[in-house]
């Protein structure tokens, strides 16, 4: 195994850090406080190619690789969990399924604007009665009399980027079918829905514990007209597309968790070297040293899992279990490490004067969205054949 980054990846990391430090970090506190979507930052990221890192240049991408994308999310998350998830949801949950399952026309139509960040993407799977359990889907898509359009009805909740996205990948029930064992199940399909389609609207904005600047909203479909040409993949492939999309998405969320944890370690190292108690810098206490050693070790282990999953995806190997393990481990590590960072900061850590409490709030969601840690364990165990 080669654990070395390429020259390009090393240069990218430097550029991401520079950008994160100078453009993202100064806004992170305000973005959290005001719950405002950092639109200006997204525009800047678009201009720099950060909204389409691992897609080919012919579609307007930057021509990079999946690891370079994961590193981007990681570096952003070190300073701002919100900005990181905007890139992750846009890239993994919207650009990727169009690139991987779209027709040539769909790719030509949607990717250039998405990959250059002129348009923002989102993904609508979760419903009030169905999360990762796709069979619980209630949103329907029915071909109209003309046979030219699908009519969508229903709603989606907790949709990341929803308030500012222009293009949505939406999963809906298109009919009934039977599974391999002949049992009747719902036929599920995927669609590319534009914000401007009649009958589409964005509903209530959720007030969240963390990643407060990310726009998490409800999507409402009331006889929403979607041209037939916007069917993504074939009829009935929706479940497969959704699951593959989530596999990729998990690399992004794992990278977000990784960055949050690493960011907290960085802050804790800096703080404990400055803060004096009982006449000593608190970094001189063995408890601090051991805590930080453990924290860093956990994040380093997480990094190996995340990078390895990203490389497997890049090499078109089966990475589903790797992505699940990376997300499971990185998310739990991030929650633990950010919480420990707050403890090292003591009372100051609990105040909003220092960023670690924000990182702790931001980290929690990584154990929940795009498949909870419990779901990741299900995925991993099923790969182990433990059913």
């Amino acid at each position: 195994m080669d654990f070395h980054l390429s020259k390009e990846q090393l240069m990218l990391r430097k550029m991401y850090r520079d950008f994160a430090e100078n453009e993202v970090k100064p806004l992170a506190e305000e973005v959290d406080e005001t719950e405002e979507f950092p639109m200006e930052t997204v525009k800047k990221m678009g201009e720099l190619g950060m909204m389409g890192i691992y897609f080919p240049k012919e579609y307007g991408g930057a021509g990079g690789d999946v690891l370079s994308y994961a590193m981007c999310v990681e570096e952003l998350a070190k300073v701002c969990g919100t900005t990181a998830v905007i890139v992750s949801a846009h890239t993994s949950l919207c650009c990727a399924p169009i690139f991987e399952h779209g027709t040539e026309e769909q790719k030509r139509k949607y990717l250039p604007d998405l990959l250059s960040g002129k348009k923002i993407g989102a993904f609508g799977l979760t419903e009030p009665g169905a999360g990762t359990d796709a069979q619980g889907q209630q949103t329907t898509a029915v071909l109209d009399e003309s046979g030219e359009n699908y009519i969508l009805n229903g709603s989606k909740i907790f949709i990341t980027n929803a308030g500012f996205a222009d293009v949505f990948i939406v999963i809906a029930v298109t009919g009934k079918t039977t599974n391999k064992r002949g049992k009747p199940i719902k036929e599920i399909s995927a669609f590319i829905v534009e914000r401007t389609f009649p009958g589409f609207s964005v509903g209530k904005h959720e007030k969240k514990m963390g990643i407060r600047g990310s726009s998490t909203c409800e999507l409402v479909f009331e006889d929403c007209i979607v041209p037939k040409a916007n069917l993504l993949g074939k009829i009935g492939q929706g479940f497969k597309i959704a699951m593959q999309t989530l596999d990729g998405g998990r690399i992004g969320i794992a990278a977000q968790a990784l960055g949050l944890g690493e960011g907290a370690v960085n802050e804790a190292i800096k703080y404990t070297k400055e803060r004096v108690q009982f006449g000593k810098r608190i970094s001189q206490f063995q408890n601090t040293q051991f805590q930080l050693a453990d924290m860093h070790t956990r994040m380093q282990a997480a990094q190996f899992l995340v990078y390895s999953a990203a490389c497997k995806k890049q090499n078109h190997e089966d990475y589903s279990m790797d992505a699940a393990m990376a997300k499971l481990f990185a998310a739990e590590a991030a929650s633990d490490v950010t919480r420990r960072a707050v403890q090292l900061f003591g009372g100051y850590g609990y105040t909003r004067e220092y960023p670690v409490e924000r990182m702790m709030r931001d980290a929690k969601i990584t154990e929940i969205y795009e498949g909870t840690s419990e779901v990741q364990r299900m995925v991993i165990s099923s790969h182990l054949g433990v059913n």
């Binding site: 020259k7 240069m11 520079d18 950008f19 720099l48 190619g49 950060m50 930057a62």
Partner: protein
């Protein structure tokens, strides 16, 4: 038309600066960066490229690892890099350095329509000498401290900063400009640019490549070509710590005001 930007890789003196026991700088322990003012020159050149489609060439003199810096500038959008590097050039002071860089620029070729740009000064030495001295060696007009640059055909109009205001200066190409941070905000490398950076050309100019230039002979480069010598370098002593006052309340402030008044400082 092309813009040739002269850049320097410098130790990042804003971070940790380590000094060896003999009073020299421990460069190995320090991060290197592209000199900040040079970044403004690169950005000014790339802006001209955005506007006119001109070619941007970056040139540096330094050890082989300085190629990494050139690649970063290529990732920002520059088209070509030149690395002037060779043992014969070691030990050069600003005068000899200017002589060598000027020869490198000659090798690339300066024609009508072209601009040579430099940063105002480098943060390692803060001398601000190399730009004007390259201009002198190339017989180019110079405008230093450029805070605004407008190009209209062969005419360049520069806002040249003074301590108490500015001058507007008109100059014709080819010319040399030195840039200050007020000029612009340097762009970031782009993701796409980074993936292209290693396929753009970087040419190494060693002594062999430059030795036919009239500016280059053994007495004009390296230690022999340097009119100045370092007699001694040293670290200044740290001023001893004074008094930390107890507390941070009104009483503390009154005590301090009392001391100042007692010493007739206020």
């Amino acid at each position: 038309m092309k813009v040739i930007v002269c850049v320097k890789q410098v130790p990042d003196t804003s971070g940790k600066v380590a000094v060896n026991p003999d009073g020299t700088l421990n460069r190995a322990s320090m991060e290197t960066i592209t000199n900040p003012d040079d970044m403004n020159a690169v950005e000014a050149a790339l802006k001209l490229k955005d506007e006119t489609g001109c070619k941007v060439i970056v040139v540096t003199m330094g050890p082989p690892p300085a190629e990494g810096m050139l690649r970063e500038l290529l990732a920002m959008g520059a088209d070509e890099g030149y690395l002037i590097s060779g043992r014969e050039f070691g030990g050069s002071d600003t005068y000899a350095t200017s002589q060598i860089v000027a020869a490198g620029v000659n090798k690339i070729g300066v024609e009508k329509g072209d601009i040579v740009m430099c940063g105002r000064q480098a943060i390692d030495g803060d001398t601000a000498q190399v730009g004007p001295q390259i201009a002198e060696k190339l017989h180019l007009p110079q405008v230093t401290y450029a805070a605004d640059i407008h190009k209209d055909g062969d005419d360049i109009t520069v806002k040249r900063m003074l301590e108490d205001g500015y001058m507007t200066i008109k100059v014709k190409t080819p010319c040399l400009l030195t840039c200050i941070k007020e000029l612009n905000k340097p762009r970031y490398m782009s993701v796409g640019g980074i993936f292209e950076a290693y396929s753009k050309p970087v040419t190494v100019l060693d002594y062999e490549a430059l030795k036919d230039d009239p500016l280059i002979d053994p007495t004009t480069i390296g230690l022999k070509g340097s009119p100045t010598n370092i007699l001694v370098s040293f670290t200044p002593p740290q001023k001893g710590a004074g008094m930390m006052l107890e507390g941070a309340d009104m009483g503390t402030c009154e005590k301090l005001a009392g001391i100042l008044a007692g010493k007739h400082i206020i």
